[in-house]
Symmetry: C2
Subunit: 197 residues, 2 copies
DNA sequence: CGGATATTTGACGAATCTCAATAGGCGTGG
DNA sequence: CCACGCCTATTGAGATTCGTCAAATATCCG
């Protein structure tokens, strides 16, 4: 699936469940006037479309070229009955998403721009590690606009904040949209106001 | 359980699952320096402690005097095996929480103070309806501080915004922490920038 | 190499926060 | 039943962070 291609659309009937095989995906919700909130980024191994309601709660769009593994909802139902372990697995996935959502609420409601960007970088780094990838440098396949809409900021503020972090010697930015973590300790201190306040 | 009493604490082993029988509960996360994000309010019928991980992701505190129905985790496991329907029910609850969390991310990341407060009032009104209670007037059992920490604002901004909505003729405030919705249409227009922008 | 797009940087303004003071509500005790 | 005191909510004035608008620079790709 090509970059920019829509996988699912908010409000559509939730007919399928997907698993990301390759590439990355962004999830988002829109307001009528175009304001956008990116609610998450998905990477290989993540599930897409965990909606036990009738319709999807958000839209999903490919960032990089993406390969998805599709489970039609109907077959899923019977699969769940055959494989109770799968249901438990999905339940676990949902719980993880829920915990991530709560962290994100804390970020959006109470963190400063600097704390948000630092949190974002560290969070991507940790996710990369979980996928057995190096914790640094980490790729930022999404645009500044996507990051801004994820962090509740503007692209300008994201850009300025990255510059600050770079000037503070905490990170370095590669030309290939990669971020290298130079001072992991310092970055972690920033995340929840432990220092730098 | 008396108001202010802690039901579960962030990071504690997730030993129990609760159902709210009577009263209301707030869920929240804290930053080390005391900043707080309220991630949700629970009312009768809602589940508390849906954490399939080892530990709770947030703390929970009684707002009004609360009565909880407790399911020890161990018994729950066997219950789930006996009653697959319960597991499905929990899955549904988790999905609903997830959808609510995404709405809240949109609110925290992209809505103005006025839109946040209007959204909050309407959302409480809808929840009240689901519990077969009148859609107006609605009780606000939580303090202004709780509301502010839920909406990512300060108590002062919440207070000022309520005053604005009152002066605009959209709501009336009872002395008993109740809000009456005078102009439902107007309030709904505010929620996602449909008008008033 | 050149045009289009994305990112960075700059100057200014606005929404919200902070700090401070006032007013209102509620319980206790006279 | 009313007065006092405490706590919460409201209101006000000024500060600050972040957003807006605009321009410059970098990157991508044909």
């Amino acid at each position: 699936m090509a970059p920019g291609r829509l996988a699912i659309s908010e409000g559509d009937p939730a007919t399928d469940l997907f698993n990301v095989v390759r590439g990355s995906v962004k999830l988002y919700k829109l307001l009528p006037d175009g304001r956008r909130q990116v609610t998450g980024f998905l990477f290989p191994g993540d599930f897409l479309g965990i909606a036990f309601n009738d319709t999807y709660a958000y839209s999903a769009e490919a960032i990089e070229s993406v390969q998805l593994c599709r489970f039609p909802r109907g077959k899923l139902e019977s699969l769940l009955i055959e494989l109770p372990k799968l249901e438990r697995r999905l339940l676990g996935e949902a719980a993880n998403e829920l915990a991530a959502a709560q962290d994100q609420m804390l970020l959006l409601g109470r963190k400063t721009a600097q704390e948000r960007v630092a949190s974002f970088i560290v969070s991507l780094s940790r996710k990369a590690e979980k996928r057995k990838k190096p914790a640094s440098p980490i790729a930022l396949p999404m645009s500044r606009t996507d990051i801004a809409d994820y962090l509740g900021l503007t692209t300008e503020t994201v850009s300025r904040t990255l510059t600050q972090l770079r000037q503070a010697g905490l990170i370095a930015t590669n030309r290939r949209n990669q971020v290298e973590i130079l001072n992991s300790r310092g970055l972690n201190d920033l995340i929840d106001g432990g220092a730098g306040d």
